[in-house]
Amino acid sequence: MSECPECGKAIERRDLIEGEIFPCPDCGIELEVTSVEPFKVDPAPREAEDWGE
């Protein structure tokens, strides 16, 4: 269990894997799984100008 750094919502690991990005189910901010053991989430990296497809 971790918590959203923005709103404090408890986040369960479920089937999330390291590096995965997902929206916080409460505030919607995009989060990134930065560690699985222990489970830890941080705000997802901010989009840079050269990001894309």
């Binding site: 590096g19 100008e49 050269d50 990001w51």
Partner: protein
């Protein structure tokens, strides 16, 4: 390379696409070494990673370019190769290559200074589209309706100050339906195609465009495959518009997303990419 190989996945973040690719590799028993673009370092002599082939899924064009060149230097094949990503990731180079291959593409004029950009816009005529040479997801693109607007937008771009906004890529505005087409090419096949519809003139899925499956017509397939081949081939998403004169290719994406495409068409795009990766690895 033998059938048993370790796949390197060079990535920034794990989105559904990367998760599906990891699952597709696991289903085939292919070991995957994750190469995070925020952590990996590149000495001039290879060390520190095992991968026999690297699948590029980094969302950063500049990180991709340097990394892929290093992998090439180490003798590690990549999907896609550096040269393909270099061409596709730069709209100026892409337009030149498409034109050289005789592929219909919007009229394009490039200018290297703000003053010349105004001339380029006048040459193209209004409305026109102004895009940064490198960039995606429709970011910082502008539809320019008249000269007054052009002067203001160019002033703003100049104030941004970066090299990317100091080169002006000007294109004719294509009067098209509220949609464009994406054909997903893997090797020598269009594996799926979709319409992307939006009331916004930018029909990027990332801007909320809705996706619907498109039947790959002969014209669409033929043009998409020619465009992909012109860029060097591999795993490429070819974006096309339905102009009054027929289909035109406006972009070829070298590290394409396929969440919306998979959802719209039901095609397991990740699995098709893995088929291609295995083919490249066993060449």
């Amino acid at each position: 390379m033998s059938d048993a190989f370790t796949l390197g996945m060079f990535y920034t973040v794990i989105r559904p696409e990367e998760k599906w690719l990891l699952e597709a590799a696991a289903n085939r028993g292919i070991p995957v070494e994750r190469l995070h673009d925020e952590e990996i370092t590149f000495p001039l002599v290879r060390n520190g990673f095992k991968a026999d082939l690297v699948l590029n899924r980094s969302v950063s064009h500049s990180r991709s370019l340097y990394a892929l060149r290093f992998f090439e230097h180490y003798g590690v094949p990549t999907v896609n190769p550096w040269e393909v990503v270099n061409l596709c990731g730069d709209k100026v180079l892409s337009s030149l290559r498409l034109a050289e291959a005789g592929i219909p593409t919007p009229r394009t004029v490039v200018a290297l200074t703000p003053e010349a950009a105004l001339k380029a816009l006048d040459e193209i005529g209004y409305p026109a589209v102004l895009k940064p040479p490198v960039g995606s997801w429709g970011r910082l693109m502008a539809k320019v309706d008249d000269r007054e607007e052009a002067e203001q937008i160019i002033e703003h771009k100049t104030a941004l100050g970066s090299t990317n906004h100091s080169i002006f890529y000007v294109q004719e505005y294509i009067e098209k339906p509220d949609r464009d087409l994406r054909a997903f090419v893997v090797g020598d096949e269009v594996v799926a195609a979709m319409y992307r519809s939006s009331p916004d003139w930018r029909t990027n899925a990332s801007r909320g465009a809705t996706a619907e499956p498109a039947a790959p017509t002969f014209e669409l397939e033929e043009l998409a495959l020619r465009a992909a081949e012109a860029m060097g081939g591999g795993v490429l998403a070819v974006d096309l518009m339905e102009s009054p004169k027929g289909l035109v290719v406006h972009e070829v994406n070298p590290t394409p997303e396929f969440k919306a495409l998979t959802g719209a068409t039901g095609v397991d795009v990740a699995d098709r990419i893995l088929d291609y990766v295995v083919e490249v690895a066993t060449r």
